[in-house]
Assembly symmetry: C2
Homo-oligomer: 556 residues x 2
């Protein structure tokens, strides 16, 4: 196996110039929960089960199923030994990833002298191909409190086939790894657990610990209150949304339609709404629960615009989750039918092909803006399928609202001129400098992962709790990954999955939003959070979602 | 004349919730230049002339031409009297506008007891229609250090016709105004000077003072080192660009094409380049000076992408000024010809109409992406003209680069997969919370404007200099607006204009950029400025353009 590795070059050499803010963040020391500041021992909890279908999970993870979650308690001690630890970043970037690595590194430096740390390059592919960089203090230092994943980069490959597991085994044997930390989302943590099971089944000494990463905020449970990156991304998007609100109020003539990153769940949209108080925020989970149509979403927006016009406001802010279309059942049907038709028929200009659509789908297709119709028919992925991800839903909604308002204008029900401005906030937020919360949280997650490996644990996800308290009172532990799992049937086989945490319509964040949105829609309760601060009291603000969920937990 | 005015409602009542950062900015007290902290008197400079065609300017401004610019010096005193002052915001928003108003207000409170201040609503139309709000401490307080123009809003109307001047006269007579402060860009300050001349010619007591506002940074001269808003907007855009750089380096697969607000001049693009070190930044003034074609701009970008591919980089950041197309002479020709053809001929599907294009224009049209061709032919403004402003130049360039790379791929000269991501940063930046510099600069500009009115001056623009020094050492004065003017011939008549300050290819900022861009293009010298900070040393950073221009002035 070719490696071309070693103490490889890294992209931020000491010659790279940092901005003032980057430098000040580099130099900022990070607080630790008190249990990590002196001696500690690891306490096992009760036997665990699974999130669903425990029998199937037990079959899939015969070596790991049922093992207890654990917590770190003061006093006692762990064995004095040096460790060889690998770390990998998996999937899309999230602010704070570098601090998880810093946390692992600093733990090894102070508590496991003589340890070695490897960073696998480019995600899980780096494990399979044994591409790595040996991490030393000089490299790690230059990424402390910095955004992005560029220290070792990331990738979206999965370790799935028997051959791929074999490759992973060879790598961890070759590097003589005591442990591997997988930093990723729901899929990556499922993969981490499969690796832990596989290594244990093959009598390899390598333990595997996961860390919860995703700006989407959809990897969380009781013991893992939030995934890192969500706090920062929402704050960056909210800065921009807040600025647009001031712009809208100042000019008095634009409706800004803001699409926000996050396909599967609408946590980002909900959090940004709680931070900024837009006139409208569409939450995908509610659209799905109410089986709304594209027409009903359009009408909902249009009705508020008309009411606002009467109240004298010809401007506003509307937030839309990136995955909106995926939440509307009729759109899913239409796309399914279109894929079939495109595969087997000719799309003739006269539109006779449309007769093959079911009547509901035909109606929907007819009300879509022409540009969207064309996009659906012309742009395909390599498998010939319609590319839903490419649809700019904010532009689609602007056009649909525009048509509806034209209609109402003719009926004398609307008198203003509607001007929609589309925006998409995505890449700008996922690589920002981590907020103070994400910096501290990630540093604790990293220490926690290293401590779990040091104490010989495997198949756990790093769990830092009590996040509403000052850092020093945060609690530290590991939750069994199997306890987060359920199964899904794919191609006739049961696959383990950690189900994505969707926005709960009965949860505290959505309920707070629902109680206020009527007021926001007609009055302008805009809040401009401003740029993320790293110094002063505003640096310590916790995002609403986490605060409300912690409050609800404390209250219940 | 109907007024419907008085102590009118304002949009940010005390019941409005501010974010933590907004609140902390509200409470932050603002430093003043030392000359404004004790007694001062106004010293006249030498007789002034004009920027060009002094004879014509003298004819256009018989009452004002030749008057001296002035400066404030310590000692002495101004008459004790109360004043009635109006203020108007004109044109697009720029961060800091509210602090100009706060500065005027605070000056009147402390130095001209019993004064009254009126804010004209919705820009110059507010003057003509006598729509105003009487500003009191409660209103003004709620906008201190806040972004946007929403205290009294703005507008783009001009006071041009004799009837409109008459309306303005009636308003200032009705309100018995001693002075009027016009906060705006080059056009608005020209308009301010015309008003000053008109009021003087009609023996009205109302004096008029201008203030330099525009995020575009194209209103500046020796005595007015910068326009407010430029600093903040560039810092907000640079935060986003810096994040995209980290994203690009982390994923290693995207070219981000970022279009930046600012049609006329490329100062914003240049400043953001100096702050972030992109791989490519296109400066419109250079494109125009070198008479570049769209093809040569495309080739320039494509060549660097190919060289980067050889160096192992399949990603990058490219900055484009919003007004790029306006700088390319051949595009201007094509659009002129298209307007003619559209007005007189039929655009037939077969394309026989294309024969009417000159051969160079025909060639250009043929290499344009299909979507841009359609846009040019289909979307017209109310006068039937092609809408250049609607062309998303970042998307156009992505498509053109893509085609060129396809071609080179077939020729074996390029082997990677090119993925372009378009971005437009505009509205997000022009309404952000003002940076510490813009907050302080605007507060001083406001005090300065009020002091000039207090000392009976008219036809001046508020001039705050020595901006590289601590605020206390800033110097304060007024520059005659006629000295900034030249004439343009329009419809057979001479019109006074303040020429926009374009990026000077021999100026220090461009020269610095030009000396570094070769290095940036192939190596990755990215800098991530991070979010604007209001506390700590990074809050005091001055933008590069201003710093370099001040340095060059000091050096020369």
């Amino acid at each position: 196996m070719s490696t071309a590795n070693g103490d490889a070059k890294h992209s931020r050499s000491p010659s790279v110039v940092y901005s003032e803010v980057q430098s000040s963040r580099l130099k900022t020391s990070l607080p630790l929960p008190s249990v990590l500041k002196s001696s500690f021992h690891v306490v096992d909890g009760p036997k665990s089960s699974a999130s669903g279908n425990p029998d199937q999970i037990a079959k899939l993870f015969p070596n790991l199923f049922g093992q207890p979650s654990v917590s770190l308690k003061p006093g006692g001690s762990l064995p004095e030994k040096s460790l060889k630890i690998g770390v990998v970043l998996s999937g899309g970037q999230a602010p704070g990833g570098h601090n998880v690595i810093s946390g692992i590194f600093d733990y090894l430096q102070t508590r496991a002298h003589g340890s070695t740390m490897y960073g696998f390059k480019g995600g899980p592919a780096g494990i399979m191909k044994c591409k790595y960089v040996k991490l030393n203090g000089d490299i790690v230092y230059h990424y402390r409190n910095q955004g992005g994943f560029d220290m070792i980069c990331s990738g979206r490959d999965k370790i799935e086939t028997p051959e791929q597991f074999k490759e992973a085994q060879e790598t961890v044997k070759k590097l003589d790894l005591d442990g591997l930390v997988v930093i990723g989302g729901d899929d990556s943590n499922t993969n981490a657990c499969l690796l832990a099971e596989n290594f244990r089944a093959n009598n390899l000494k390598t333990r595997v610990i996961g860390c919860p990463k995703t700006i989407d905020g959809d990897l969380k449970c009781k013991e893992v209150p939030t995934s890192f990156g969500f706090d920062t991304a929402c704050k960056i998007y909210s800065e921009m949304i807040g600025n647009l609100m001031v712009d809208a109020r100042s000019t008095g003539k634009y409706y800004h339609f803001v699409r926000l990153m996050g396909r599967a769940a609408s946590h980002i949209t909900l959090e940004c709404a709680l931070q900024t108080h837009p006139n409208i925020a569409i939450i995908g989970e509610e659209v799905a629960a109410q089986k709304q149509t594209l027409k009903s979403v359009t009408d909902y927006i249009t009705n508020i615009i008309c009411k606002r016009a009467v109240a004298g406001f010809n401007y506003g802010i509307i937030l839309i989750p990136e995955g909106l279309i995926d939440f509307i059942p009729e759109v899913q049907s239409l796309i399914g039918e279109l894929n079939e038709i495109i595969a087997h028929d000719t799309i003739d200009k006269e539109g006779t092909w449309k007769k093959k659509l079911r009547s509901q789908s035909h109606e929907l297709f007819q009300i879509l803006p022409k540009t969207i119709q064309e996009q659906l028919l012309l742009e395909r992925d390599p498998h010939g399928n319609v590319q839903v991800a490419k649809i700019e839903s904010e532009k689609m909604l602007i056009q649909m609202v525009e048509s509806e308002l034209e209609k109402r204008k003719k009926e004398g029900k609307y008198e203003k001129d509607f001007k929609g401005q589309p925006h998409f906030f995505g890449y700008e937020g996922r690589c920002g400098l981590p907020s103070k919360f994400d910096s501290n949280y990630c540093y604790a997650l990293g220490h926690c992962a290293a401590a779990l490996l040091h104490s010989g644990k495997t198949g756990l996800i790093s769990s830092v709790e009590n996040l509403g308290a000052p850092v020093e009172n945060w609690t530290i532990g590991g939750t069994t990954l199997t306890s987060l799992m359920d199964v899904e049937r794919r191609h006739g086989k049961f696959k383990p999955v950690i189900k994505k945490a969707m926005v709960e319509l009965e949860g505290a964040p959505f309920k707070k939003f629902a109680s206020m949105r009527g007021d926001w829609s007609l009055k302008n309760r805009y809040i401009n959070p401003g740029p993320v601060q790293f110094v002063g009291p505003s640096a310590d603000i916790l995002n609403h979602t986490l605060r409300l969920e912690l409050g609800a937990k404390a209250g219940g």
